[in-house]
């Protein structure tokens, strides 16, 4: 028989069971045991019919109250237990974040290519096209058209690699490995009318035995602008724009008069040393580092390609990529560029 006292007793008992449930499954068993279809509260409610009507109402209300309170207790316990469950899961799933990450294999671009890309990128931004040409050249494009006199020592067998002539009817002109990328300039000018704004990166060859500061093959980037009204001031401004982008905003340039057969006036160009800011240090000596040669295109060269030097003028400049890479990255020996040691290549 259900009575208020019995219900209270039932509640206390059930609540105790809820409290002591250690996990969600145990809690569910408690729920089934006390509140399920075959649970104790159901059997209490089933006996209600045997009570007098007034009492039935009272006990019924009390029983529903007990059920509600018990459901509340179970729900609270459920929340508590499932939180604990999540906490536990989080705890067991924790990883050692100091283990190395999973990475895919990666390749490195050769440092020389990176520097060429950077240089050409800057000039593309300034409105230049990239021009290329063959590594095997004829004397005409490499020397003669560039105003190089026939007896110039650069043309000697000591300095320039020549190709053995094989055929029965040898060509008139000497065939050689280009000693600079300047022949590309001649080829471009012979093919098109001004304006010309080009940058020519590529391999060049000189007959030097490999040592820390020489390689028989190296890379050059040369630039050429030919247009109406091009001035030496334009050359300076262009080189300043380039050096600031390449070496940093604070870098200054200095032009020293020099002699090249294919330009006049000609200059050697220094950039202020980034280490000492131009004051002079062990790296640079004087505060300045020579980075390129430049000048106004010699009228003889313009005439050679069929341009009228009274109508157009131009400037040209050239730099050694290895030297720039060496200055920017502190490479002590040029041969490292050609050895392709993976411990070198993969650093950059």
């Amino acid at each position: 028989m259900a009575s208020k006292a019995e219900l209270d007793n039932f509640y206390e008992q059930a609540k105790g069971a809820v409290e002591s449930a250690s996990d969600l499954r145990a809690l569910d068993q408690v729920r089934v045991e006390f509140l399920g279809k075959k649970g104790q509260i159901t059997s209490v409610l089933k006996t209600l019919g045997q009570l007098p009507a007034d009492e039935r109402k009272l006990v019924g209300q009390a029983a529903n109250e007990v059920r509600r309170r018990l459901e509340g207790a179970i729900s609270a316990k459920q929340t508590e237990l499932s939180r604990a469950d999540v906490e536990e899961r989080l705890a067991t799933e924790a990883v050692d974040i100091t283990l190395p990450g999973r990475r895919t294999a990666h390749g490195s671009q050769h440092l020389i290519s990176q520097v060429i890309k950077e240089i050409t990128g800057i000039f593309i931004g300034l409105g230049y096209r990239v021009a290329e040409g063959p590594e095997v050249e004829i004397d005409y494009f490499n020397f003669k058209a560039l105003n190089q006199p026939p007896d110039h020592p650069a043309r000697s067998l000591q300095d320039t690699f020549y190709i053995k002539k094989e055929s029965v009817h040898p060509a008139d002109d000497d065939i050689l490995l280009r000693t600079h990328t300047s022949p590309v300039q001649i080829r471009v000018m012979k093919e098109q009318e001004p304006p010309v704004y080009i940058i020519a990166p590529g391999k060049a060859f000189r007959r030097d035995v490999p040592d820390p500061s020489h390689l028989p093959m190296f890379h050059q980037v040369e630039g050429l602008a030919v247009d109406e009204g091009i001035t030496f001031g334009d050359l300076k401004g262009t080189l300043e724009a380039f050096t600031k982008q390449m070496f940093g905003k604070k870098r200054k340039i200095r032009l020293r008069p020099h002699f090249f057969p294919f330009t006049e006036p000609s200059a050697e160009v220094d950039v202020s040393c980034a280490v000492c800011d131009g004051k002079g240090c062990r790296l640079c000596g004087s505060g300045w580092l020579e980075i390129l040669g430049a000048g106004m295109v010699d009228p003889n060269v313009l005439m050679e390609v069929g341009y009228d030097p009274e109508k157009v003028s131009g400037f040209a400049f050239g730099m050694g990529v290895e030297r720039i890479a060496l200055l920017m990255h502190g490479v002590p020996d040029l041969r490292m560029f050609i050895e392709n040691d993976m411990r070198f290549v993969k650093q950059f």
Binding site: A105, G233, H258, N340
Partner: protein, 802 residues
Amino acid sequence: MLVPLSWLKEYIDFELSVDELVDQLNLSGTAVESVRFMGKGLDYVRIGQLLEVEPHPDADKLSVTKVDIGQAEPLQIVCGAKNIKPGDKVPVALVGATLPNGIEIKAAKLRGVTSRGMLCSQIELRLGTDAAGIYILPEDVEVGALFTEALGLDDVVVDLEITPNRPDCLAMIGVAREVRAITGNELRKPAVSVKEGTGKAEDAATIVIDDLELCPRYAARIIKGVKVGPSPAWMEQRLQKAGMRPINNIVDITNLVMLETGQPLHAFDLKTLKEGKIIVRRAKPGEKITTLDGVERELDRNMLVIADSDVPVALAGVMGGAETEVTDATVDILLESAYFEPDSIMRTARKMGLLSEASARFEKGVDPNGAVYAADRAAQLIAEYAGGEVLAGVIDVYPEKIEPRTLQLRTDRVNGILGTTLSLPEITDILEKLELKVSVIDGTDNMSVSVPTFRPDLEREIDLIEEVARIFGYNNIESTLPESSGKQGGLSHRQKTVESIKARLLASGLSEIITYSLIDPREVDKLQVPEGDPLRWFVKLMNPLSEELSVLRTTLLVNLLKVLKYNVNREQYDVQVFEVGHIFWHENGKEMPDEEAMLGIALTGAWQADEWHEKARNIDFFDLKGAVEAVLDEIGVTGWSLRQFAHPVLHPGKSAELLIGDEPIGYFGELHPDVLAAFDMPTAYVGELNMDKLIDNAIVSRELIEIPKHPAITLDIAVLVADTVAQEKLIELIEAEGKPLLEQAKLFDLYTGKGVPDGKKSMAYTMVFRASERTLTDEETLDARDRIIARLNKELGAEIRM
């Protein structure tokens, strides 16, 4: 060109510090290679005079000397040199000195004899190259004086790099002229006045020029009754500081005047010239001469010589002959001051391998109109320092005077080239400082400029513009950028495609390498390349540095393998690299070599070393194929196929030729074991593809393929087939039969072993079916699958496995 500043200051004053002078020279086009402060490290060196030189009691090779250094007591110094005798004046390094070579001088006992100091050789003082003995000083130096002061060594010597177009700067006066242009200060050329005797030069010698083309001018002075001997100390010092070795007063004066004026001079012993005759002519076939350096040289028709009535006595402009050289016994001198044609001197000097101070100047062009000034200057100095009588008159054969060149210069052209706004007076001022004579053409801003003959480099208007620019100062020219609409920067399709191929390979884990375009032909032997193969159509160098770099590469493979090997030798076993570079070949009968860009790939080892989550896996054929596929995919090549490739370089069962359409593009595969053995390499996978052909087939731009709107149905099948059946066959059949509903089919498992009969393999494919305009039904999909299975069974005998 070594320029002692004390010497330079004879011709021009300047208030610049050494650093400022160096800067100004550099910025006006006279490059300073180095600066040497001469006295450095010589503070404790004094002039001593030997009082006694006695043998060391206990050492044969040593002497014990007593040296007066101007103090109360002479010093006792032990010395090993043999060239000293009492009375000699010598440099003495005192106790406490640290010499330029780092030697510290301390009081010491040498075999029991106390030594307080050291007698020095030239090399120990870093003054010359003479290490043979103690530096015996001229008699007129003061005992006890500081060595640096007595020898004028408290001096600074700047080393100038003179470009070949500026022979005028191979002279102190020329350098002083540059300083004048920088500072505007006055230039002082030494005034020359020769006290002439009564005899006439013309009576003492005759000069004939046979070849006026090679020798436009030959002038000579005759000095009789000279006394050959050592030069005064100041003169020896000057020469030494300028890098020349003192010889005797006559030779020293010719050198001194050459360094001063740029005009090389040569002194002949007049008595050795037969009939007192000088004939300037080409050498006759078979003629020989023994030059000053004691070498007998054979001459030819292209060489200009100075001959007497009989035989050549000097190689004109290059080197004098031993027979007619000035010796201690010489009394009468013929002093030559000539102008020779530069190219002829250069050719002779090169051919003889004789590069002298004289030839270096003649081959660049000396001032033809400076010959007599130099001869007079030298004659005056000879009379002063070697005695003798200068005969009256200069014998000067100069039938066709070389006149100064006149050039036009336009002000607006100057400003148009330089981007300056210089006025006519500003331009004139600069040119006049360089001793060019400028006259303004009336009513214009144009000038007529007379160029002195000491500036053979100024031939055109642009040369004058350069002079204006460098003296105005490059760094004073305002910087601008070209304002042109003609600038359209960017990469071509070809260049972009190359860049994207490189980027894809880098992203796929390959690193880029750059190697020589030159190889060793013997390396191609190692590739087992048969005779006559195109890889042997070498382009050979005429003048290689060595066999290792003697032919242009016909393939990228050689260098790729060398790089693998280089790294493997250094315990870098995992190497995955590519190179984009040119190959070259000589086709029979064609003179000009062919040249083509290639892409080379080489893989060895594993992509990654063992990791905590994954073990290392050795690269195989399919890694290489994957890299090739990535390239093709990157540039959108379609319609490519592979076929068996038979080449001795590659493993016949693990190699393929790549075709696009019918055109071969290249090959790739595992290296043949014979090649691996030749290179002493573990397994390696290589490929070489023609870059231009790849680019020709690259997609220019991609068009969007619509993203499907309807769901797909995915089904898997696994079949057993004979293990000789190529995967490609299965895929082809699946795709053919699955059309049009089959969107994609892909092999996802390949299995042999337990459960699969011998000679068979299990191939599992995942197939995606989709209709573009509607949702597929299960029935039609299963129907398609069954048709595929039936087709595989019919054509390949495939049995369904699942």
